[in-house]
């Protein structure tokens, strides 16, 4: 699969999902279990992506500078520091650790 195939396919699907919400009758999605599961699916995918980004190295699990960087990011979010500042700080922590080790 080349990169354009991946990008165009995923983009068309995401756009179609948005459009579908304006086409289908609302009743089909009113069930609380469906709404709850959809919200939790977002949470689960984001959490799994964080884990893989932080600990994954191809098909291995590897603890390195990314983990302390994530811990710092969590602390900063808890202190309500803005998104961009946190992302830059996390990058800085990882870069610093790699520079000194």
């Amino acid at each position: 699969m080349n990169a354009w195939t991946v990008i165009i396919t995923a983009s068309v699907i995401c756009l179609a999902l948005k459009v579908s919400g304006y086409l289908i009758p609302a009743r089909a999605f009113e069930h609380p279990t469906v709404a709850r599961t959809a919200n939790l699916l977002t949470v689960a995918l984001l959490a799994a992506l964080i884990a893989v980004q932080t600990l994954g190295a191809g098909q291995a699990v590897q603890v390195d500078a990314r983990l302390p960087a994530l811990v710092v990011a969590a602390g900063l979010y808890a202190l309500r520091v803005p998104f961009v500042v946190v992302v830059i700080a996390a990058a800085g922590v990882a870069a610093l650790i790699r520079a000194v080790t």
Partner: protein
């Protein structure tokens, strides 16, 4: 001449500017990370112009960064699954937007976390409409402009890990997750999904652990685990 704005509409516009500016800024991190995950500037811009839903965009480049093009199928599926919440947003916005093919088509494209959140927070129908359009349009313009800036920066930088940008991706995901972690049920799902994805990483091909972790949400949501005590405390207000 346009009629004078009500105080509610002015408040909606102020909220749109605040949210729009804050969101547009992190388009820089998306643009830079997309280029560093192996996409070119055109491919990066296509995502912000056409896909235009931050969570799915980050997911796509996140899976591609760890698994390469071999994980293309998993990257598409991750982006699509994260995009499913927009279906619910669209259903919610449908009566606010009203009739008209072109208007609804444009609204569909601008249906994202932020435009729906600003709209839903407004007290009057007119302010809800204005909040949605103002936020959606501001973010669309800002997000694409900053994506381009980020992509150009990423193009100049080169090696990801030397600058800690691989850690920045995880921090960006955490920023998207953080506001959703207030209830015990979402906290439980987040922890379980992270553990499942980590444990499966050595066993499955890159991209798949994330998708299997999504099953945690289906199980917890389907049986409403970890959520009952909180609901009783609220007196069944839903």
């Amino acid at each position: 001449m346009a009629r004078a704005r009500s105080p509610e509409e002015s408040a909606a516009l102020r909220a749109a500017w605040a949210v729009g500016l804050a969101t547009a800024v992190y388009g820089v991190s998306f643009g830079a990370l997309a280029v560093l995950s192996g996409l070119d500037i055109w491919q990066t811009m296509f995502l912000s112009l056409v896909m235009f839903t931050g969570g799915s965009q980050f997911a796509l480049i996140g899976v591609l960064a760890s698994g390469g093009l071999a994980a293309g199928g998993a990257a598409i599926t991750s982006a699509a699954l994260l995009g499913t919440r927009n279906v619910f947003y669209a259903i919610r916005m449908s009566p606010v937007i009203g009739p008209g093919f072109l208007r609804r088509a444009a609204a569909a494209h601008l249906t994202i976390d932020e435009s729906v959140a600003v709209s839903a927070a407004q007290p009057t129908p007119a302010a809800q409409r204005l909040g949605f359009w103002a936020t959606g349009i501001l973010i669309y313009l800002g997000w694409n402009l900053t994506t381009l800036i980020g992509a150009l920066i990423g193009d100049l930088i080169g090696d990801v890990s030397a600058y800690g940008l691989d850690a920045a991706a995880a921090a960006a995901f955490l920023g998207l997750l953080w506001p959703r972690l207030k209830a015990r049920q979402t906290q439980a799902v987040a922890v379980a999904a992270a553990v499942v994805a980590t444990l499966l990483t050595p066993v499955l091909v890159p991209g798949l652990p994330v998708l299997v972790a999504g099953a945690v949400a289906v199980v917890v949501g389907g049986f409403d685990l970890f959520g009952t005590s909180r609901k009783r405390a609220e007196g069944g207000a839903a």
